[in-house]
Symmetry: D2
Subunit: 380 residues, 4 copies
Amino acid sequence: MTAHDVANPVKLTAVAAPDQPEVTPALEELYRGFERELLVPLWTEIGDLMPSSPRSRAVPHLWRWRNLIELAARAGDLVAVGRGGERRAIALANPSLGGRPFATPTLWAAIQYLMPGEDAPEHRHTQHAFRFIVEGSGVWTVVGGDPVPMNRGDFLPQAGWNWHAHHNATEQPMAWIDGLDIPFQYANEAQFFEFGRDEISDAERITPEYSRSERLWGRPGLRPVSATGASAGSPLLAYKWVHTDAALDDQLALEREGYGGTVEPGHAAVRYTNPATGGDVLPTIRTEFHRVARGVETAPVRETGSSVYQVFDGSGTVTVGETSWTVARGDLFVVPSWQPFSARSEAGQSDSDSGALDLFRFCDAPIFEALHLDRSERTT
Amino acid sequence: MTAHDVANPVKLTAVAAPDQPEVTPALEELYRGFERELLVPLWTEIGDLMPSSPRSRAVPHLWRWRNLIELAARAGDLVAVGRGGERRAIALANPSLGGRPFATPTLWAAIQYLMPGEDAPEHRHTQHAFRFIVEGSGVWTVVGGDPVPMNRGDFLPQAGWNWHAHHNATEQPMAWIDGLDIPFQYANEAQFFEFGRDEISDAERITPEYSRSERLWGRPGLRPVSATGASAGSPLLAYKWVHTDAALDDQLALEREGYGGTVEPGHAAVRYTNPATGGDVLPTIRTEFHRVARGVETAPVRETGSSVYQVFDGSGTVTVGETSWTVARGDLFVVPSWQPFSARSEAGQSDSDSGALDLFRFCDAPIFEALHLDRSERTT
Amino acid sequence: MTAHDVANPVKLTAVAAPDQPEVTPALEELYRGFERELLVPLWTEIGDLMPSSPRSRAVPHLWRWRNLIELAARAGDLVAVGRGGERRAIALANPSLGGRPFATPTLWAAIQYLMPGEDAPEHRHTQHAFRFIVEGSGVWTVVGGDPVPMNRGDFLPQAGWNWHAHHNATEQPMAWIDGLDIPFQYANEAQFFEFGRDEISDAERITPEYSRSERLWGRPGLRPVSATGASAGSPLLAYKWVHTDAALDDQLALEREGYGGTVEPGHAAVRYTNPATGGDVLPTIRTEFHRVARGVETAPVRETGSSVYQVFDGSGTVTVGETSWTVARGDLFVVPSWQPFSARSEAGQSDSDSGALDLFRFCDAPIFEALHLDRSERTT
Amino acid sequence: MTAHDVANPVKLTAVAAPDQPEVTPALEELYRGFERELLVPLWTEIGDLMPSSPRSRAVPHLWRWRNLIELAARAGDLVAVGRGGERRAIALANPSLGGRPFATPTLWAAIQYLMPGEDAPEHRHTQHAFRFIVEGSGVWTVVGGDPVPMNRGDFLPQAGWNWHAHHNATEQPMAWIDGLDIPFQYANEAQFFEFGRDEISDAERITPEYSRSERLWGRPGLRPVSATGASAGSPLLAYKWVHTDAALDDQLALEREGYGGTVEPGHAAVRYTNPATGGDVLPTIRTEFHRVARGVETAPVRETGSSVYQVFDGSGTVTVGETSWTVARGDLFVVPSWQPFSARSEAGQSDSDSGALDLFRFCDAPIFEALHLDRSERTT
């Protein structure tokens, strides 16, 4: 029947209706007909396909940074980075997504590791990507020939179809996290990929303090008049920690002075945005930084769509659905669709000066908003 | 390690790099560590996840209308329609999507069947839907209390979260196709669903020639001043065949008169649009009607994203990738992402007056366009 | 001082402040300095420039159609139409706008008149324009080579920079009204103008029942797939009366049946929209048709921005600010910014079957909305 | 005839057509009829109203800062600032706009002056406004209770309908320029105005280094998550000189390093934007800062719409249409619609370190772009 050599995978159990499971020979024959013709009735599937609210196939899960970094370091010793494999990146595999390297149904999160002097070769792809650096420094990403340094707390968005490579200019290895929309583009089959040059040029191996993108786009509210139009991804290739940290501090300070600005009492948050549009830095991925002041617990909120968080600093307890973990620097965890999330900063355990719990977050909200599928609610 | 009782599904085969499959005990130990920690390296997966161009998991496939309608009629005899099962809808299952009722990775296509006098109960859901009628008449859909008649050639969009029910007011059974974004919302976990009233009222059982939506929104270029703002889905609930047919005829007539308007010589096409925005009728689904004049073959085109076509009239040959079928009224087929598609009208076999091949199409292009993932090209 | 030979026009009367009119020699000297340097203080002007709410320089005014048509006919006898003068158009001059041909500060309204067999030569300009026909038929406008017939009740938008000419194909003279944004573009100095061909071709002198634009764009909710993108002005060049009339009738019928759709009880209204965007047909001009049912009086509403109305059918009383007029077919009147407007249909005097008062309206609301300057309120 | 006591201002000279000035008694009678009925023919006006390209009523003109500041200082001695007069602001009156305080047909530009310890009382208005500071410091503007300090080079946008007042906290007088869209809103009659509190509170009299708006919105690419939606005007109330200066320096440095970023060789420029949208800071006014490197002459460019420039630093020659001036710090000049503008930095005369000519510019481009009336071209 089919033009391709695909074994017919349709296997059905006959039921007359959800509440009428009586099965006659005629009904059995009908279901065999469905199978032959590659058909599946709605009435046996509706509970799974059309639930009253999102029931995620993903589960909440936590990955400990100390384990990730240890395995990544061993991979640094044992596995070469080069053309073909492209990156020494090791991805989080949500335990209920069939062993695929998918943190959530839409998001990819990986630790990437580069040895001293190593290059990760140049390529480009339609998948949107970013880097976030929880510790270390010395690697830079060359984007379209523009070397962008990477240091603790920095955020580097990388919109699809830009050429990019990495280089470790130091004598220490360095790790960071990569976030991409690989699972989303895989599910929807939108991917293109191209190899670039095998070697980046010496001119690109300089290590400037500021990338050219920052020199053109990195001043608040100022855009180059020469830049006409707006691209789908941010032209600003680095969001340095000094600004993020100061913005969060100021929100909490304004709250103490009696003014608005925080999301809720003791909970400061900034969103990384494309300065050419004010919108998200990437078409499919939203990125934010949250600071939960010492002793504060955020209100549980659930949203359509999924998130990945990384603990940047401090310590505390995070709760996803019915699961809670005590977390520390570098730990990563996922929040599946429509599962309530809250975080509590635990002062006593904190190793940061302020006692605040600092969380980097990325999520797929731009997809849901663009398609009018976004919903959210506080659950208390 | 995980908070949920999920068996660890990560199973890996150790390789040092794509071109370095030499496996040492230390490397084996590293991969066992990856498995324990629910990690998967990119370098073993990149070929599958990041192909040079979209490689669809779906395959081209054709479902014959005569088989569908026969099975649907038998289901009419054997399977009750009512609360719980909700609809007597039987979905196309792409043979390479694991037996799931998914025509493509994003789209659901089903034949729905209603016996004389039957009601399909009221409900609403976030999934966006439409009906298209290839034959028959007499059923209407009640949308938010507005009865919308359904006749051959009519197209009825049904944006998410609108209450709706169906009623067969005649003494014949009737079939039509439903298109929805069920697979997309399933994959992304955005679904909400609510039951409505078990019975629709007598006042809703009248059978008007025009729905109220058409009386308010069905004149070209005119909108009610009382309607402020624009909803995500079209406020026009029926696009009657008379208009679609005339629009296609006029494009071909204009071409004969020496003017533009067709997509290419002999190939007329209209898109169903939301009159409040000029954009697609549904946030996630594009719907079009194509008319290929007698003896014409369309240029092969491939696009990111997938389509489902139904033959409305005429006959001819359609080619998807490397597969060709001779098609007739009612037949349904899928075009996976980035597979070239072309259609040829075959005059000799046609049972229509004009000899044209009339194709109804729906696809997921609005998702790709909203997220800047759309690409297309002619392949000749 | 100035590089141009312009007499210094600044003439000031010295005041120290609005409530301190004591004038010393030093103060006089200061004001003479202002004059010399071409300066004007805010404190003497603020009451005029920054009123607490808009105080229009225009006044409400009514022009009787019988007088307009009589003068236009006489101009038909005495004044040639041709290159240079371009159009036999005679514009309404608001009595408080200095004798300029400006109906309001932003809008131009004129009666245009064409004798049997006459042509008005082809040209194009950035000013946005439309035609509305209150009586007669037989003239058509050729837009970019597409002849568009004009009949009673038809509305023809004409976005800026389209080539256009008029031709009277009959043996009777014909009149209609032209609406443009001439005063707005004059004030803001955005105008370009070009002469076209002196003669339109024979091929353009055919008189089709439907323009090509209607054949491509004139079906509800359907757009040609070949049309990519959206232009600033509507691609649909004629909105025929049959649709407008039916849409208004249906709104009133739906109201009688117990449903929404009218603006307020007994007051139906449609807006002419660009089918490619759902927005206004012209970037600077909104056009609407209002039907006030027999015996109904609309609620007084005031808005920022100005309107021109033409009575299409029926009769009644209209009130603008503190002025009321009894109006009949063809009469034109203006509603200045922020002046309340209401209309009452007077059954006894009506010459239409329905007794309704039918009003065509155009206004500058798109300018105000685009710049976030729109406000409106009911005044009772 | 009219309901208002307005003398009929229509006065016409009879012509049969532009090229047929023969005047018969019948023609004279026709024109008297036009006058009586408040009508004006197009054919006598078309040359003025619909020119082949914009012919501005405004003329290029230059105001010398030394004269402005001297008159403003004298007004400081002689004219009180307070409720009613509201501001000690003295506006530029373009010599060909009838003595009205309009720099161009759409833009208001004034020098404002505040004596030591003085307050300018709180009010709000729909007119969009900004302040730019060419010299001095010590005044701050309180916007919605948020004190915003003002120093040389700072730019403070002030979107319509925000409460605001000024206070001079020092022992020196201070001057700055105000830019508003007063002429535009006056012509279009969109204005609302309200008085605020007569006294600002002590809590508002503190003088912070950074306004609260800067603490929330003043980091590059970061927005508070608590801020939902986007307002028509920028939420960032101050654009400090340090950022503007560095952005311009970096553009010129990047050019020297071989990269893009400048508008043309030696000509750096930034646009002040709303960080919530990436668009202009005000709905009707665009603001930019241009730096012309030592010895460079910019290419002449003309645009629809008008501009006002203030020289911030350096010296040189500016050319507007056929007029050229040698300019120095603080001088203000206007560029009418469609008049070519170019600037040349004259190193020898410069009093700045770099020898660059620094120009602050504001213009009405957002109006033209929103209405699709923008055009521009290089004239060499």
